[in-house]
């Protein structure tokens, strides 16, 4: 019982079964409220499923085992939609990127690891000493991706990483995700409501609607011949130039 009588239950996700292979890139699409973000929160350990199981590399990562738990939190990293609000405005980029290394007690020369990570996402070394407000939206999103990569995660989850960015920069960020995915040592889950974004970056696709996965499989096959109404609607809603 809640304070105001019996709480009604709302299921943001309903009977979702998905298997993500190591090194794969999965695009998650659906309209707002379909459960995409909740799904991302479950697989990143931010939300515990109320029923059913979630396994990471064959075991439950949300166990009480502290070491295992910590290892899971390092292996799964998250990139948020709005880079402006995912950086502390008072902390320079370099320090913000060293933070996860310290927190996970990763050994080695932290400055060098961070510099290398900035290089991976195509940022200059001088970004290290800059404050978030000194970078453009696209640069800052790159920095956010670099921050996720410093701890060498196995799974990278990005929730609408390009939709707050300008068109010309959006393509750059999506190219970066495609590059990361193509390397094969990183599993990518990319959430978007824009089909074109996931079509470019992800080999596999899961279409969500009202908390359920209504269609999943190879991205190109689904886009060429969508079966479910939700997928058809998404393909139809996609506007093109002329």
């Amino acid at each position: 019982m809640g304070l105001f009588g019996k709480r009604s239950q709302f299921h943001a996700l309903n009977d979702v079964t998905l298997r993500i292979e190591s090194g794969e890139s999965l695009g998650v699409v659906g309209s707002s409220g379909a459960g995409k973000t909740t799904f991302a929160k479950v697989i990143s350990g931010q939300v515990r499923p109320s029923a059913g199981t979630f396994e990471f590399r064959g075991s439950d990562p949300l166990s009480k085992d502290k070491v295992k738990n910590r290892e899971f939190r390092r292996s799964v990293q998250y990139v948020f939609q709005n880079p402006k609000s995912s950086f502390d405005p008072r902390i320079r980029i370099g320090r913000a990127l060293i933070e996860p290394l310290r927190s996970f007690k990763i050994e080695g020369n932290h400055d060098e690891i961070v510099m290398a990570s900035l290089g991976t996402v195509g940022l200059d070394r001088d970004v290290f000493g800059r404050y978030p407000h000194e970078l453009s939206g696209g640069q800052l999103q790159r920095a956010a991706i670099a921050r996720a990569l410093v701890v060498k995660p196995e799974l990278l989850i990005a929730d609408e990483p390009a939709s707050s960015l300008d068109v010309s920069i959006r393509a750059q960020i999506l190219n970066l995700f495609k590059e990361l995915g193509d390397r094969g040592n990183l599993t990518l889950v990319l959430i978007a409501h824009d089909l074109a974004a996931v079509a470019h970056t992800s080999r596999k696709l899961a279409v969500f609607e009202s908390g359920r996965v209504v269609e999943s499989g190879l991205t190109l096959e689904i886009l060429r011949d969508p079966q479910s109404d939700a997928a058809k609607r998404l393909v139809e809603a996609n506007l093109t130039i002329i």
Partner: protein, 317 residues
């Protein structure tokens, strides 16, 4: 045909920075104009200058003539007679455009009773009619709700309804669909376009999305670094763009069919980024990112007009 809005040599600056640099633009009755550009191009400031809603410290120079009124020179008091009567604006963020403490009905009542002679008594009927024309389900219930109780798409439709209720001759919509998802985006725009044409109003759609302009506007105007770099009939400009920036923008648009058919390895990008207002290069603002740039580009190119198309470039395609 006489334009309903005639903008000539419009400048917007705060004394130190300049956001709009000498824009000329005509909007004709019933026209749907897509104003495109990346953030920082000056397109929002252009809209705000027309509305006389510029942020503190910013002011406009030049002229923007609506009927017989010059919107740039009239006083704020005179502007109150224009804003919300002859020009209406639909803002990007529907949650902050509505008063969170007031019901939707309150918003409509204020507008309708001002716009229609019998509005004070019949505001409910009139708003219900507008809302059901816009495809808002349970319009009567919606009027009793607070802004936060509605979904983003519904709120955006409410804002369109409010703009329509003003019976304005010009509606400026600033990125009306960036905060709603793609499936609803189309629906919202269909609604907006149908509502403006029913009202006989002209529309300026401010957006960064070329695909929207291609589908919903008959005319396109591309802004970069405060300049209007190219404008003309949408199809003509998109099929045969002459300014290198327009071309690059078209190229960088992520097209689903292209991805499916050709399985692009790398999406085309425009190198570099839009210069900030503090570091605008001398001459053409695009020259540092342009592959056709020459020494001539160090001087601002003049505007050339031919066959209904305008262009600001020394080395057009």
């Amino acid at each position: 045909m006489r334009p309903i809005l005639q903008v000539r040599d419009l400048w917007v600056s705060n004394g130190r920075l300049t956001a709009v640099r000498g824009v000329d633009l005509d909007v004709f009755p019933g026209q749907r104009l897509g104003l495109v550009g990346e953030s920082g191009a000056g397109k929002s400031m252009f809209g705000l200058a027309i509305m006389n809603l510029l942020p503190f410290g910013w002011s406009a120079k030049g002229s923007a003539i609506l009927g017989n009124t010059d919107l740039v020179t009239i006083s704020e008091k005179e502007h109150c007679e224009v804003r919300g009567r002859r020009i209406a604006m639909i803002f990007q963020d529907s949650l902050s455009a509505l008063d969170p403490m007031k019901r939707i009905g309150w918003h409509f009542r204020r507008i309708v009773s001002r716009a229609s002679s019998d509005g004070a008594t019949r505001w409910q009927e009139i708003s219900l009619e507008i809302l059901s024309n816009l495809g808002v389900e349970n319009a009567a219930t919606a009027l009793r709700k607070y802004p936060h109780q509605l979904s983003g798409g519904q709120r955006q439709r409410i804002l369109i309804g409010m703009a329509v209720a003003t019976k304005s001759e010009l509606i400026i919509a600033d990125e009306p669909t960036t905060s709603v998802d793609t499936a609803i985006q189309r629906n919202v725009l269909d609604t907006l376009v149908a509502a403006t044409s029913k009202l006989g109003a002209s529309l300026i759609l401010v957006t960064h999305d070329l695909a929207l302009v291609s589908n919903y506007c008959d005319t396109i105007a591309v802004m970069y670094g405060g300049h209007l770099v190219e404008s003309g009939p949408t199809t003509e400009v998109l099929v045969k763009s002459r300014h290198p920036y327009t071309g690059a923008l078209i190229n960088s648009n992520i097209s689903l069919p292209r991805i499916i058919e050709q399985q692009v390895k790398k999406l085309p990008v425009i190198p570099g980024m839009m210069p900030s207002l503090e570091s605008m290069p001398i001459g053409c603002a695009f020259r540092l990112r342009c592959d056709r740039a020459s020494s001539a580009c160090e001087e601002i190119p003049p505007e050339s007009i031919s066959e209904g198309r305008t262009l600001r470039c020394w080395n057009p395609k």
